[in-house]
Amino acid sequence: MSFILSEDAALKNYLQGLTVSDEKAPVRPVKVYFGYPDVEITAQTYPYVIIELIDIRAASERQTSGMMIDNDYRGTVAPVAGTAYRYEVPLPYDLTYQVTAYSRHPRHDRALLYQLQNKFPSQYGSLRVPNELNTEVAYRTMFLDGFLKRDMIEDGRRLFRTVYTVRVISEMTPSVAVTATQTVQTVEINRITTNIPTGLTAVSHLTQGD
């Protein structure tokens, strides 16, 4: 995966495995969502955690220049003997996330507080981000920039909310930006399709504009 997608996935993965307990369930897993899912979903799954990407800042103060050479194009292409890739030094970025924990039960709230404080330990946090080939792993520095408790009453019931503002150090190679703006020219589809609904015809090949 590339810039942003990798960090998104890594952060969600990092928050997996959170659990709380109460008199009805000794182990209650805490679900993690991106953005705000439908109310119908969350209403049944308290407690839960939401991840929001709230800022992308080019960290020009950390920018350096020059060329790098390796044999897997920063972990995006399987190495081939005798082939090397040359590219510019990546652009440093700060990705800022808001991680919000919601719960209805004070004991769940405290259990989540404890676990999340350990997950985001001030300036000593790190996020495990594997490369695209999944052959190497980088540990990105992760800062806890802010913490806020915003408990409230919703529909006559207590809602415990804890908000963490987390900054993840990241980088983007210029080639990623070029790739992201490329236009899709051809879409290949499966030509051995079976079970085609009555009245429809199998399409063997599509090009842009079809």
Binding site: Y36, T42, I54, Q98
Partner: protein
């Protein structure tokens, strides 16, 4: 601190605060914050320090916008503003002050 330097530092901070208030309100406008809240946002200078100020009665609404609610996504402005501008500005003020003191021969 030399009185002239102190006054110069306060003047730099005051002018920067005016400029940053405009930047902050522009960011809030782009984030689609309500106009009655936008006009309440002010960057203030106290000595050489800068901080964001708004009337206390707007606190709850501003926090709902900044951090979201159970049913709405956050529309962060204050945190992004602080990360992008305030840190740089404090450095700018310090450096300007340093050069000013250097030119006045304070370090001789």
């Amino acid at each position: 601190m030399n009185i002239a330097v102190e006054n110069a530092a306060k003047d730099i901070a005051r002018k920067s605060a005016l400029r940053l208030t405009s930047v902050l309100r522009n960011m809030a406008f782009r984030a689609e914050w309500p106009s009655d809240i936008i006009v309440q946002l002010v960057v203030k200078a106290e000595d050489e320090n800068l901080y964001i100020s708004y009337p206390e009665e707007f606190e709850a609404r501003i926090q709902d916008l900044e951090y979201g609610t159970p049913n709405t996504s956050p529309q962060p402005v204050l945190r992004i503003f602080t990360a992008r501008y305030a840190a740089n500005l404090e450095r700018e003020v310090s450096e300007t002050l340093f050069h000013l003191m250097e030119n006045m021969g304070v370090f001789n």
